[in-house]
Symmetry: C2
Amino acid sequence: MDVVAQMRKFVEPSSVAIIGVPRSPWTIRGTTIDILRNLINQGYQGKIYPIHPQATEIQRLKAYASIAEAPENIDLAVISLPRDVVPGIVKECINKGVKAITIVTQGFADADDEGKQLQKEIDDAIKGTDTRILGPNTFGTANAYINFSSSFVATQMEEVPVGFMCQTGVFFPGLVGLKLIGRAIDLGNGCDVHFSDGLEYFEQDVETKVIALQIEGMKDATRFLKVANRVARRKPIVALKAGKSEQAAQAAQSHTGSLVGKDEIWSAALKQVGVIKVDDIEELGDTARAFHTLPSIKGRRIGITTISGGLGIICIDACQKYGLEIAKLSAATVNRFSVLCPSWQNVSNPVDTWPAVGVTKKASLFEVQEIAAKALLDDAGVDAVLCILGVFVPSAEIDLRQLVEQASKSHPDKPLVFYLYGLLANEAKNKLEETSKTLAFPSPERAIRALGHLADYSEFRTSYERL
Amino acid sequence: MDVVAQMRKFVEPSSVAIIGVPRSPWTIRGTTIDILRNLINQGYQGKIYPIHPQATEIQRLKAYASIAEAPENIDLAVISLPRDVVPGIVKECINKGVKAITIVTQGFADADDEGKQLQKEIDDAIKGTDTRILGPNTFGTANAYINFSSSFVATQMEEVPVGFMCQTGVFFPGLVGLKLIGRAIDLGNGCDVHFSDGLEYFEQDVETKVIALQIEGMKDATRFLKVANRVARRKPIVALKAGKSEQAAQAAQSHTGSLVGKDEIWSAALKQVGVIKVDDIEELGDTARAFHTLPSIKGRRIGITTISGGLGIICIDACQKYGLEIAKLSAATVNRFSVLCPSWQNVSNPVDTWPAVGVTKKASLFEVQEIAAKALLDDAGVDAVLCILGVFVPSAEIDLRQLVEQASKSHPDKPLVFYLYGLLANEAKNKLEETSKTLAFPSPERAIRALGHLADYSEFRTSYERL
């Protein structure tokens, strides 16, 4: 069976056996009863087979005494049992012909010598078979498109075109501001299924437009880099590499038994194969959202329209930091906006719109921004536009939505993003992002950082298209 | 009159003349009618004197034909009139004996040669007098404690002990996540009143515990650094220095006529005098909030309790980046927590609490975190604690609030902060921050960055106490 078909059993299962479901519900403790309840609550449409030695029914589902007694054609078995019994259950699954096994249980290579030995037993069990194992020490997989998640904590899933791979389950319940799980794979200790397998799956998955990774370590970095380099030419890959110091490396050893490697080497290697490396959780979320929401960018020249001259200067600093250029505006662009301005204003990029707002009687507060934003978009020397605007009136997002719609028609190849501030900014931001293909970032610096990553990726893609 | 008494007229005025109020309201355009309406709407309790050549009443307030005809003892005159007439009005104010004048109007040193000449006229007018000028090109001042703001855009004020000084009005209406104006001074072009004056005022103001600055440039950096060095020994000063590149320097010249100086020199100079330099808007907000919410920190040794081992590793990276140390735990601390853990777990810092949550029957999900957090706080080798927790049940903030209260009693000298994630995290975070002296940061990295700044400042303070 090829890797992609195999991985589909993990991420798109039609039937799941949950092995070791206790009969009485317990508090959140990572037991299989929670996995089962979540599957039911989320509306998973596939078949669910609870496995329990004594029970005949669990959560109104028919239960089976062992995997051997369950129906045939089980795509995925999920095991959450004390570690000692796991190798035996794995062998039962193999005998049953199950090709995909997720082991939730902790205490293997992430733990003591006994755990390491148990992990080796599991590894040995699948050798020579076409059964593959995800984990141990994992939340498993999630797929918003079929309401599936093997997480024992409720997963915040959204049908976003992001394929997520991680080595910690913390991303499944949803980090604040980072609800981006369309399809997700938690590798946990990664005894068998690893990043390269997931990459090959997401490469083929038509709904996945962006791949986001949280990496602790890698067993087979050479294969990963080779696969990543191929996949990155088709889809952007964004990676948060954790474990930069010796101390972090030790912690990763206890967390997933991973060898983290040297950070400088990782940075250089990821860059070379076209993977966008980010530095923190917020940047991971911002960047993944930018890739799946915005059009790709043609170059590094940014046009900025700002109601605050002070923020304009802060934006120039950010462009310098994140490798973007402040676009040099054409005379035509300058003239289009200058007619609204006081005679003393020397219009340049970033375009400070406040003086015009103060003096012109030709345009409202919003219209001044709109004229500036459109002039920037029309300028052939501008590759993307950041619009900075105070939101002081309700329903401001309606005007902004129209601006985004017009911009995406007239300039489908130029990202238009926002930084909104003021009393009503959050509300406007949320409504705008819900209804339009744009992003309103929490700070101008974060907007520019995200555009910088789009530019890095475009440059990588172009360098390959030229070959 | 000494600087502090003078600055009080700007920030704590008992009476304000608003010069140039038009009779018919206009849209948001920075006119004095907006300033007047905001003053009334915000509930400013001082006396307001609208000045207009023809009107006798504006917004139900008695209006005066000129400043000369207004009552005596006017603390502050706010001027928003076309730039050409401003010098004449300034002279009228001086003749009336007004000691504090805010000039809102743009188009002076921020603009063309004519503007520069007009600014010089204003400068000359106050020479030899004890009248001082704020601006031109400013939102003026704001003071949440007396519901005063001379901003023409509604100001989001909160009675927080932050004294804010900036060169752009954008901070007055409130940036997203940065409502931190207790008292604020927008210097604008800074023709007369400048950062040093404000620092001396905030140094004396008993309600100001933290001073936050957004700096573009400085006329008298030598005096500023001298004053800052004195003030920083008493109160933390946090500064966002904008204008790092040549291009940004040119933009600052157009924005406020400021000379920005070299960034490396600024960085070194600010560090030397004990000013905490931050790199972006979010960091400015996080850091100012940390200083006024949390106790000061004694050292750099951080204890972390995390329900996610993966985030623990991300925290180690962040500690390395922001100059903190992962505390080495005492045997007693390790033992206190180990009793809850599976036998295979080797407890160390960051304390991964999930394995214990999974196996112990002695404690609930929250109790496990609580035991870990308290053990860390009790450890003499730990200077601050970050607690990372998923929020999956409503009202989780009640438990957290109790933890914070107990911690602040038993360890009033150790900051305890949070990173909360999960479906109900935002709600819990907001409630917790409203009711308790703690902060729940939007990412673990931002929590650690803020603690790093607390540590930098403590070190600076200690170095002076030793002298």
